[in-house]
Symmetry: C2
Subunit: 212 residues, 2 copies
Amino acid sequence: MPIGAVRCQITVSLDGFVAGPQPSVEEPLGVGGMALHEWAFATRAWREQHGQDGGEDGVDNEVVTRTTEGLGAYVMGRRMFGGGEGEWDLSWKGWWGEEPPFHLPVFVLTHHAREPLEMAGGTTFTFVTDGIESAVARARETAGEGDVMVAGGASAVQQCLAAGLLGELQLHIAPVLLGGGTRLFEDAGSPRVKPVEVSGSPAVTHITYRVG
Amino acid sequence: MPIGAVRCQITVSLDGFVAGPQPSVEEPLGVGGMALHEWAFATRAWREQHGQDGGEDGVDNEVVTRTTEGLGAYVMGRRMFGGGEGEWDLSWKGWWGEEPPFHLPVFVLTHHAREPLEMAGGTTFTFVTDGIESAVARARETAGEGDVMVAGGASAVQQCLAAGLLGELQLHIAPVLLGGGTRLFEDAGSPRVKPVEVSGSPAVTHITYRVG
């Protein structure tokens, strides 16, 4: 029986977007969307997770470090995994190369069945076609005592919020205005949220909400 | 020559609205909109400003106290002052009764001229018909070394952001999802913002941004 929490952490612009307008293969985060994540790219922990040296210590680094502690599995939406819409091009194995930074089982929400993909470094992508509740249930089962992280994108998070599946939502509010794009809280229902922790740097503000 | 700052502090829902859907005379903040301000109503400082006893001390109370320190004048939009649209019904003197809680000169942005209104307790409403830059300039002139507070609503704040008139923006992020209503950052342009202070309680999160 799973006892871990279901958590989500996601970066959002000050005007509420998780991606800018006109996402494309070249700019999967839309116009201006990469600016959302500059705070994370600058941290030692993020660089370490992605096989790079250096990076900054401090508040933001601590947040990134704690974010991946205690995890047992991930859930993500099809758009975050990438590879376009519709039937799979089987040569597509995600945005992250041969050794993705997850190092855990990842359950990908999709309408199109596909065999599991075992990658280097402990990441396995399993494709789930029977909805968000099933994806989260399978992730929890796999995670055991570990937490499940809903990695995004917006649609997966909204489905979790609307279905009451999320226990904790951590927002990283980037000090940028995108003026358009994909909104985090479109169609998210009316979940009860309560801020339990807040911190920040000149690069970003972190707020953790207990949900439900 | 004015040397005070131009500041704005405004409460916004987690999904980015400063008022809920369908605002009316009975519900000027729209459906669900009053919930945005519960954190403030609960504080000792807010209650004191509105002639009431009691209220809570703590982080939120300190924020309310500091918000009104050093002010010399206010700017507000027509919708915040109220009285409908179009030509004035001269019996309308704002939402706040005979002694409004401002106790300072207030410059009201409107398309319709009206004589200044002197209220009890030091509040004077002056109606400005030649645009946001003029309203802010007159408020700064009047405020002298004091700061100018842009009190809202969303349209006045957006005009200030888009015109580069704002030096500081303090957001109070209320842990509610309104699902619709008036967005704070619609048509706000692309001002540069940088978080300089963050604090909070289980009722609300405060982020202060330096603008420009």
